[in-house]
């Protein structure tokens, strides 16, 4: 991963990392590195997840009770901390997804109309 590569990718908007983590965990429990990978892959390598920022975010989500964690063993037999969605986290995900879709649609409408006019 060179710097140029990184520059080409989109940086995450403030507050969206939470949503992405929750969304990723809907497929089952996963460790931090796996979450970072998954976000990058599902976004077709468009999004940049700074790995260092991921862990404090995971910590916050855990404190809020949206995800829970326990140590386990990864597929290639390494020790890792596995996160899974809690019931509260599931609700939060629904809430934030709706919010985000409305926001994206609204912004999209404004930007779309401007493009038409110009």
């Amino acid at each position: 991963m060179s710097t140029q590569e990184a520059k080409a990718r989109l940086e995450l908007l403030q507050g969206t990392l939470h949503l992405l983590i929750l969304r990723t965990l809907i497929f089952g429990s996963q460790h931090g590195q796996g979450i970072a990978r998954a976000i990058q892959q599902t976004s077709e390598e468009e999004l940049l997840v700074e790995h260092g920022a991921l862990y404090p975010a995971l910590q916050r989500l855990e404190e809020r009770g949206w995800i829970s964690a326990k140590w386990g063993t990864s597929a290639n037999n390494r020790k890792a901390r596995f996160y899974s969605l809690t019931l509260a986290g599931r609700k939060q995900l629904v809430k934030e997804t709706t919010k985000w879709k409305r926001l994206a649609a609204a912004i999209g409408r404004i930007l779309g109309s401007q493009t038409k006019r110009s």
Binding site: H51, G52, A53, Q59, S74, N76, R78, K79, R81
Partner: protein
């Protein structure tokens, strides 16, 4: 914290795991081990930063900071133990004084009645334009508007029994109405009888209040009917302290004024607080009052106002509605018909007063002076704060370099403020903790002082409770922030570069603004100390003058005590009383160490007096003179050492004869004002407004003060004393208190049912009547010395700081050959000038305000130059010392060291 460590390590392990997973993935993509590791780390970014972010996101961060700050503050404070001790002690005195006064206020004014729903309880009080025309009329000290004596319209809380029954019938507004009367009686449970304060209460007293018995039962309606078995309930306090919590007293018989009563219960442990501070030790049914006290007002008489009524409002009923219903009934029944005690235009009215806090006899008496004292100690606390703030300010200047370093290495400003505030709060917390100790001691001695000087027994419970602890805590925090904030804000606002460039440890300069503030604080402290000390000096001289004042008789070596014969069943004017009085006199006079003994109705100089009226025979009865009156036993003038001027004093025969006019002795003022230069001996007077001659003068004695030591002697008539209650006076050869047990035995041998009241020396009796002067003098002396100590500390700090700051300059001067005296003057001058300004200002202000003390002073003028001069000299000496000590240190500066300093 253990929890933090585990999680933090756990977090690091997780990051490590991530990097290994990432490395493994990259290796699968074909990178070498080293390349994969480096790439994984690069992708992760700054590991330490992530760990820090994790650490900062945690909720316990403030706790870690607090722990750091506390540890650091402890280190800093331990490094300057003198500073710490002075600050803590100053704050402890300030907080302690406030907490002590607060705990007294709490004891008499703030505690709620210990019964369910006290806010529903209301005390009935009436007001009218004229005094009621009643046979018997009691004013009660617990009445909200005071005794009513000084008010324009008469008011009281006393009602007749028929009125009580009427009020009780208002069942739609009141869920219960109770009545009571306070009384004292000779009560004996076991051993010798004691004079106790108690209450006669209606049968529904306890049930309406909702008070339960600790053991046995309380009184109920069946006890309060005439002919019921006489029963008594005792207070928990009495049961505990006098009966040793013995449960077997239940069912036993107690005697009340020699009449038997069965003990049926002990009240709950907190119920004695019904009237905070005034002990109630027993409760009797209202119906039994006629058994105990045959002279008590009749229950059917509508013209005797003697009962206090307390009503419990029904749920949801407004006070205004209850008042309207009460007055709708009270006004017509008291202004017309056979039970009328008012005229219609007297406009009598009943008001309801909330009794949630109890009856508060003491609140009406002491609350105002206590609030005044609270203001005074509040000022002292502010002074202490100002002082500590000054010290902290000087210290923060000395610590500027430390602050600058911390700032330079990246400490956030709020972290520095937080740390300095932690330091202040720790100081104030230590001060508060020590202050609570001072408060307990102070409140106890103040309460003891008040009850020792009170005429009714007091029992002020100043024990520590949550109110007091809360108060001390809040005061400590407020104080800590108050004195800590300014220095902390200043300490955090340092300009790093110039301070760090200066290499000397003390080179930081105090900004002009705070230097001015410091000077003003010191001058203000000197002014306040002068003010308080002048007041203390004037009052101290007043107390000395009062204690040395000539009473007209010898006040030293005189033991006084009352002997009450009530419990032996004698009527108030039983002819046997005279014989018993004289038997007691003979036995007491024969005791070793007693040179003579006599008795009178009341003690001299006790703050009370009896008075009477008389007129000359033949003169119209309208031209009455009033005079002070005192009945005395044989040998009274000899025992008291009151000189005989003319005629003779009383002999045995004067007490036995009842025919003809009563022989009286008058004092010199009486003889002069009534008869001028004529010979008063043998003259006959008519007592009161009657027409028969009932007094004949047999002798004239020297003037004596009677009511209190401040009041000059008035015309006084002495009559022979032959009643049930006497105050004995014993002239002793040595310490009067040493023979008290002998005296008790002697009285007990005459009749074991007699009891002794108010045993004290004449000097103590005088002291009791001037307790206000003594209290104010003592407190202002204490506060004055405190203020003086604070001011000296302030001066010391100021000069010491100046010396520290100018070490380099002093070194240069000394190297250039300056004399030590010159250096001394140079450094101390500043403090001395401030002192002089303060002393001059203080004397001026004091001269302007001491006339407010006029009414308290005795034998000393408000502008007494001697007092003013002494205080000025005292203060100047101490202030000079406070400046000299640090200034002398400046003269010991080694020029070489001082110069190398730079």
């Amino acid at each position: 914290m253990f929890r933090r460590k585990r999680i933090s390590n756990d977090f690091s392990a997780e990051i490590e795991a991530h990097i290994q997973l990432e490395t493994a993935r990259l290796r699968e993509q074909g990178l070498s081990e080293d390349e994969a590791q480096a790439a994984a780390r690069r992708a992760f970014g700054n590991v330490t930063r992530a760990e820090e972010r994790f650490y900062e996101s945690r909720r316990w961060l403030w706790w870690d900071h607090l722990q750091q700050d506390v540890r650091f503050s402890l280190r800093m404070l331990r490094k300057s133990p003198g500073f710490t001790a002075v600050v803590v002690l100053t704050l402890a005195l300030g907080i302690g004084a406030n907490t002590a006064i607060f705990s007294l206020i709490n004891a008499v004014a703030l505690r709620s009645l210990p019964v369910p729903n006290p806010q529903q309880l209301f005390l009935l009080q009436w007001t009218a334009r004229q005094e009621p025309r009643a046979n018997y009329f009691v004013r009660y000290a617990g009445c909200p508007s005071g005794s009513g004596r000084f008010l324009a319209s008469p008011t009281a809380c006393s009602f007749s029994y028929p009125m009580f029954e009427q009020v009780r019938s208002l069942r739609d507004v009141f869920s219960g109405v109770l009545s009571f009367e306070r009384a004292n009686a000779a009560v004996r449970v076991s051993g010798s009888p004691g004079k106790l304060w108690g209450m006669y209460v209606s049968g529904d007293f306890f049930s309406t209040l909702g008070a339960r018995a600790a053991i046995g039962r309380t009184l109920d309606g069946n006890d309060d009917v005439s002919g019921a078995e006489p029963v008594i309930v005792l207070s928990y306090r009495y049961w505990q302290s006098e009966l040793g919590s013995d449960t077997s007293v239940l069912g036993k018989t107690a005697t009340v004024n020699l009449k038997p009563f069965r003990i049926v219960g002990i009240t709950g442990s907190d119920f004695a607080d019904f009237d905070p501070g005034v002990p109630v030790d027993f409760w009797l049914p209202l119906a039994s009052q006629s058994i105990v006290n045959p002279h008590s007002p009749s229950q059917t008489d509508p013209h005797s106002l003697w009962l206090y009524l307390l009503a419990r409002l029904k749920q949801g009923v407004k006070r205004s509605r209850a008042e309207a219903e009460l007055n709708g009934m009270f006004v017509p029944s008291t202004t017309s018909g056979p039970a009328a005690i008012f005229k219609a235009d007297d406009a009598p009215r009943i008001t309801l007063y909330n009794a949630a806090d109890g009856l508060a006899s003491l609140r009406t008496e002491y609350a105002r002076p206590l609030y005044v004292l609270m203001t005074a100690v509040g000022l002292i606390l502010l002074l202490a704060c100002a002082n500590v703030a000054g010290l902290m300010l000087a210290r923060s200047s000395a610590r500027q370099k430390e602050m600058a370093v911390r700032n330079a290495v990246g400490a956030a400003r709020w972290r520095i403020v937080q740390q300095l505030l932690t330091e202040s709060l720790m100081l104030s917390a230590a001060g508060g903790a020590l202050g609570i100790l001072f408060a307990v001691l102070g409140a106890r001695s103040l309460a003891a002082f008040l009850s020792a000087n009170s005429h009714v027994p007091l029992q002020i419970d100043v024990g520590i409770d949550w109110h007091i602890l809360g108060f001390a805590l809040v005061v400590s925090i407020v104080v800590g922030v108050l004195f800590g904030l300014a220095p902390a804000l200043r300490g955090s606002r340092v300009d790093v570069a110039p301070i760090l460039k200066l290499s000397g440890g003390h080179s930081g300069t105090m900004p002009r603004q705070s230097a001015h503030l410091g000077n003003i604080l010191v001058v203000a402290q000197v002014v306040i100390s002068i003010l308080v000390l002048v007041g203390a000096g004037l009052l101290g001289r007043t107390v000395l003058n009062l204690e040395r004042a000539d009473a007209g008789f010898k006040t030293g070596n005189l033991l006084l005590f009352g002997v009450d014969m009530t419990a032996s069943g004698l009527a108030i004017d039983d002819p046997r009383c005279d014989k018993l009085n004289r038997e007691l006199q003979n036995r007491l006079a024969a005791l070793p160490g007693v040179s003579s003994a006599s008795y009178s109705l009341a003690p001299m100089l006790s703050g009370g007096l009896a008075g009477g009226e008389f007129h000359l025979p033949g003169a119209p009865s309208s031209s009455v003179h009033s005079t002070d009156l005192l009945s005395v036993g044989p040998g009274f003038f000899e025992t008291m050492k009151i000189p005989l001027v003319a005629g003779r004093t009383f002999t045995k025969a004067d007490f036995e004869s009842s025919a003809g006019p009563k022989p009286i002795v008058v004092n010199r003022t009486f003889a002069r004002t009534v008869f001028g230069n004529d010979n008063p001996l043998g003259r006959v007077l008519t007592e009161g407004r009657s027409q028969t001659p009932d007094w004949q003068i047999i002798g004239v004695v020297g003037d004596t003060k009677y009511e209190n030591i401040r009041k000059e002697a008035e015309a006084t008539v002495f009559t022979p004393h032959k009643y049930r209650l006497s105050t004995f006076a014993l002239r002793t050869e040595g310490d009067p208190k040493a023979i008290v047990s002998l005296v008790r035995d002697a009285v007990g041998r005459v009749n074991p049912d007699f009891f002794m009241l108010q045993v004290m020396t004449q000097t103590e009796e005088i002291d009791r009547t001037i307790y206000q002067e003594r209290l104010v003098a003592t407190l202002s002396a204490l506060f004055g010395l405190l203020a003086l100590a604070l001011a000296s500390i302030g001066l010391y700090g100021l000069v010491a700081y100046g010396v520290a700051r100018r070490t380099h300059e002093i070194g240069v001067r000394m190297a250039l050959g300056a004399q030590r005296q010159k250096i001394l003057w140079l450094t101390a001058r500043f403090g001395l000038v401030l002192t002089l300004i303060g002393v001059a200002l203080g004397l001026g202000v004091a001269a302007g305000v001491t006339h407010y003390l006029q009414s308290l002073l005795y034998g000393v003028r408000p502008l007494d130059s001697w007092t003013f001069a002494c205080i000025a000299i005292l203060l100047s000496c101490i202030a000079t010392l406070a400046c000299y000590i640090p200034a002398r240190r400046a003269t010991r500066v080694d020029p070489m060291l001082a110069l190398r300093h730079e």
